[in-house]
């Protein structure tokens, strides 16, 4: 329950922080950190335009997308407090629930019959497929390391472990930051602010969404960022009492947002054909974590 509220709260200002960092890095003052949320609320009040080509799929997809993200957030624990949903293997369901949302967003992009959106859908499908192994291997490594198979138990056991866990946590953080960047279609993979549709992934998928639906989708990005931030936080807060862990939570989320802003400011977007190679790096790093765990546990023959 704690983590759910914290994540919802963080999602309000997370993207604002990213934008603020980017503006400051480029020497501007930038909008207030609540501006993205204000935009979303404005969108929620607006009417929408629907293409003649679209069908029911286009209408239901954003709702299910948000539902899937909210469902995934329900599973994330906070320190030694389990998430609202917690059971053995919950991280598998976490990934699959998110995939359901993605599935619907992809077909809703195809529903518009536009070649731009088809292109975005194609890339989204491929990149999200490539990124999934990294997440599963990381969770596998930590499951192996701690001997448990649920988010809550893994994180709980992790923080009582030896100091080496923090090193593994750091590596995992690296991977998770980039998974978050890919899932939210941010800089090294995708540039949401580009002026050319041909070079976008996620933004081009939602060209035809407007009004309430667009608001939902943008809010989804905020939620996803905060969700991955919470996941990263869990690598570092253990059984600390709430009055310390909550400030720590916000501290780490703040750092995460600033890092995202910095990456976006100082990295150029990769060529589209080089993206798969970059994503494979993540899988390799997570394999490295896995072998690291094997080494630490002395399971190597």
């Amino acid at each position: 329950m704690v983590s759910f509220i914290l994540i919802l709260f963080t999602s309000i200002f997370f993207v604002g922080l990213v934008i603020r960092t980017k503006s400051m890095m480029s020497g501007r003052k930038g909008p207030g950190i609540l501006q993205p949320m204000k935009d979303i609320i404005r969108l929620w009040k607006k009417g929408a335009v629907y293409s003649h080509t679209t069908s029911i799929i286009f209408q239901i997809a954003p709702s299910i997308y948000i539902a899937s993200i909210l469902m995934a957030i329900l599973m994330i624990p906070h320190g030694n407090l389990p998430g609202i949903i917690s059971f053995n293997g919950d991280f598998v369901m976490f990934a699959y629930v998110l995939a359901l949302g993605k599935f619907l967003m992809i077909i809703s992009a195809l529903d518009t019959g536009s070649s731009f959106e088809g292109m975005g859908a194609s890339r989204e499908a491929l990149f999200s497929m490539l990124v999934e192994p990294a997440f599963f291997i990381i969770m596998g490594s930590f499951a192996l390391f701690t001997g448990h198979t649920s988010f809550y138990e893994i994180f709980n056991a992790l923080n009582y472990g030896p100091y080496i866990t923090y090193l593994l946590g750091l590596l995992a953080t690296f991977v998770l930051v980039f998974i978050a960047m890919i899932e939210n279609s941010r800089m090294p993979i995708d540039d949401p602010k580009t002026h050319l549709e041909l070079t976008m992934i996620h933004e081009v998928m939602i060209l035809d969404n407007s009004g309430f639906d667009l608001g939902l989708i943008l809010f989804g990005t905020n939620l996803k960022f905060a969700m991955y931030g919470a996941l990263i936080t869990n690598f570092f807060i253990g059984a600390i009492p709430l009055h310390i862990s909550i400030p720590m939570f916000f501290g780490i989320q703040f750092c995460f947002a600033v890092v995202v802003g910095l990456i976006e400011s100082f990295m150029a977007r990769f060529r589209m054909s080089h993206n798969p190679q970059f994503i494979f790096i993540l899988t390799s790093v997570s394999l490295l974590i896995f072998f690291g765990v094997l080494l630490v546990l002395g399971k190597f023959i």
Binding site: A48, V49, Y50, S51, H52, T53, S55, I56, I57, P62, S63, I64, I66, A67, S68, I85, N88, G89, V92, M93, A95, Y96, V97, A99, L100, F103, I106, I107, L110, D111, T112, G113, S114, S115, F116, E117, G118, M119, A121, S122, R123, A125, L126, S128, M129, E132, P133, F136, I137, G140, A143, L144, T149, D208, G211, F212, D213, M272, K299, F300
Partner: protein
């Protein structure tokens, strides 16, 4: 006794129908066939549920001199498969009777088809219950021939007959391997009963492994494990839609039944078998889905997905074997449980997908994905049903595919925690493979659904009016309902699953049921959470509709300011998978033809891509080509001169007569030499 009578009634019904078929008029034929199959299904279900509640049924017929006593055993495994087969055959028959209305002119074809349908169903049931090698092989052969007849329904098409013969040959290669394995046991033990397999292999576990491998090749060809899969993507598109659904749903599953049956019987090095199964299955799953993505024939795409799903089932089986080998009960439960459940699940969603693809075919007369589009407006029910199947086959909640994949995932993660380096590594790769399969399946089905049903039509197709009659659609709804039921209330099925898993050997002193009961709890949990997910989506949608849709206005799709309508502006299936194709070019085998534009007034340019199966090329085409080349050297023998043929005959007869004499002589000489 009741079960025995019921079983005999089922056989008798099939026999009576087959005999009656030629004398029936077409109108009555459909009615009678549907009635027979429904009655048979009801009886078989009663039989299966009776076994589930009362335990193993056993009966031995006296048999003949050749067969020896014929043992009939119906245990939980048989009952599980009988239920899976029966449901798909029932929906298939009800769907098929509508599908075949187009072919009313061809009475003979219809009669043969109806008879073959009943024969195949009956023989599949028999395969599940018979435990005598010779009778098993006979029934298996009947099933193979029957399904051949079903596949070549449209025999006047060249493609169909070619596919049918390919299927026939490969089925018989499977039978050769099965015969070899059964003979091995028979020669060593002198009995045809399946029970002796256990006795024999307990004494020689090393032979147990060998026997299992021979059986695996035989059953694996039927199931479609890579590299024995090549018949599958050819046969499925050739058959009528309801037959494709049945073939993919249950006929290939009989191979899985065979493998599971042998695993309950043989005593072997299970750790090795586990590694072996996992390796083959990872290969099968990944290869199947990788090729599925680049297919442009909807039914062929679905056929390759069957191979992928066989891979997932195989990963479950491999996990279970590894569990037996390393004595980890939890892995046995989730492995075999996941495999069994996925067998059921795949039979449901794959038949649903094939049936809805069949409806698309009936209306548009094409299966080429690139030519279709925007069908959701013309046939909304079929579209939603196809979407249901697509979501389920990707293993996404809230449908049934997720439950079984989740079960296998749990087992794999638990297995990771074990202490052996080797098993940790292979299980890690299994996890990787399963994740990739899921992701690739998502690409494939977003493509299939998105291109076929969404957007606008890509070519001018004849579209018939009022395509979705209630009679046509209800079997599909029934399947969809079952899928949701398994997805949200999986615990309804867990008692049956528990009993079936209990058949596999737990080499632990602990009672199987003790591990099983708490193990099944997670099924209830994920069902509940899937339901919550659905509820949340529904609530959000309602909220959206009540808040958002006040000032909505329709317009056309945004196209950089271009407002005309052109269907050619859409993304096509090939362009959707282009990035993927480029990435995996090394594994795929794609023939590409391209004409370039040149000159001031270039002519129409075109580009065609055609995906071929690399493994088929290496395993089937190349050896056949080489063999043919070898045989061509002897072509001079067949020169058309009668005189030569008379000479060959003479040579043959002389050899036949002289050879024994000659051998006698040689033996005689050897004897003399020895005496010296």
């Amino acid at each position: 006794m009741m079960i025995k009578t019921l079983l005999e009634i089922v056989q008798l019904m099939a026999l009576v129908l087959v005999v009656l078929t030629p004398f029936l008029r077409l109108r009555w034929l459909g009615f009678t066939a549907i009635f027979t199959i429904t009655a048979q299904v009801v009886i078989c279900s009663v039989l299966a549920f009776h076994v589930f509640s009362n335990g193993l049924f056993e009966h031995t017929y006296t048999g003949t001199f050749t067969t020896g006593p014929i043992a009939i055993r119906i245990d939980y495994l048989s009952a599980w498969f009988i239920l899976v087969i029966s449901f798909t055959f029932l929906t298939g028959a009800w769907y098929g009777i509508q599908y075949l209305k187009k072919y009313q002119g061809e009475a003979t074809l219809m009669k043969i088809h109806a008879a073959a349908y009943i024969i195949v169903y009956t023989s599949l049931i028999d395969i599940c219950v018979v435990q005598n090698s010779i009778v098993f092989l006979v029934v298996w052969e009947i099933m193979a021939l029957g399904s051949f007849m079903l596949v070549i329904f449209e025999h006047y098409k060249r493609e169909t007959i070619k596919a049918g013969i390919n299927f026939l040959i490969q089925s018989h290669v499977a039978i050769v391997f099965l015969t070899m394995a059964f003979l091995w046991v028979k020669v060593k033990t002198g009995s045809y009963d399946f029970a002796v397999i256990t006795e024999y292999t307990t004494v020689y576990p090393i032979f147990g492994t060998g026997i299992f491998l021979v059986f695996f090749v035989g059953f694996g060809i039927k199931a479609g494990f890579v590299p024995f899969h090549t018949w599958l993507p050819v046969a499925h598109p050739a058959a009528p839609a309801h037959i494709s659904g049945i073939m993919s749903g249950v006929i290939i599953k009989i191979g899985i039944y065979g493998i599971l049956r042998m695993l309950t019987l043989v005593e072997a090095n299970f750790t090795f078998l586990g590694y072996f199964m996992l390796f083959i299955s990872i290969l099968t799953g990944l290869y199947g889905v990788m090729l599925a993505i680049v297919q442009h024939n909807l039914k062929r795409l679905l056929a390759y997905h069957s191979i992928e799903n066989i891979g997932i089932i195989g990963i479950g089986i491999g996990l279970g074997c590894l569990g037996i080998g390393t004595t980890q009960p939890w892995m046995i439960v989730t492995g075999f449980g996941g495999a069994l459940l996925h067998t059921l699940n795949h039979s449901l969603f794959k038949s649903l997908l094939f049936f809805s693809a069949g409806t698309v075919y009936q209306i548009t007369h094409t299966m080429n994905i690139e030519a279709l589009g925007g069908l959701i407006k013309k046939m909304p029910r079929t579209a939603i049903l196809f979407l249901t199947g697509a979501v389920a086959i990707c293993g996404l909640p809230p449908f049934n595919g997720f439950v079984s994949e989740f079960m296998i995932f749990t087992g794999l993660y638990k297995g990771l925690l074990s202490n052996q380096f080797g098993s940790t590594i292979i299980l890690l790769f299994s996890i990787l493979a399963l994740v990739l399969i899921g992701g690739l399946a998502m690409i494939c089905f977003t493509k299939a659904f998105g291109i076929v049903f969404l957007g606008t039509g890509r070519s001018d197709l004849p579209v018939e009016t009022n395509p979705e009659k209630p009679l046509h659609v209800w079997p599909l709804y029934a399947i969809g309902f079952m899928m949701l039921l398994i997805g949200i209330f999986p615990f309804l099925f867990s008692p049956y699953l528990e009993k079936t898993i209990g058949l596999f050997r737990f080499n632990t002193p602990i009672n199987a049921a003790d591990i099983l009961a708490p193990g099944m709890d997670f099924l209830t949990i994920i069902g509940l959470y899937s339901a919550i997910l659905v509820a949340m989506g529904a609530i959000l949608y309602i909220v959206r509709n009540s808040i958002g849709s006040r000032r909505n206005s329709p317009d056309c799709t945004w196209g950089c300011g271009y407002v005309g309508t052109s269907t050619k502006l859409q993304y096509s299936a090939s362009s959707f998978v282009r990035t993927y194709r480029k990435l995996f070019e090394a594994i795929l085998m794609i023939h590409k033809k391209k004409t370039m534009a040149f000159g001031l007034y270039p002519k129409t340019i075109e580009q065609t891509t055609h995906a071929y199966d690399k493994i088929e090329y290496v395993v089937i085409d190349k050896p056949i080509k080489m063999f043919r080349g070898f045989l061509n050297r002897f072509v001079f023998l067949q020169n058309g001169n009668v005189q030569y043929y008379v000479l060959y005959g003479f040579i043959f007869i002389s050899i036949a007569i002289l050879l024994p004499l000659l051998i006698n002589r040689i033996l005689h000489v050897l004897q003399i030499l020895k005496n010296i």
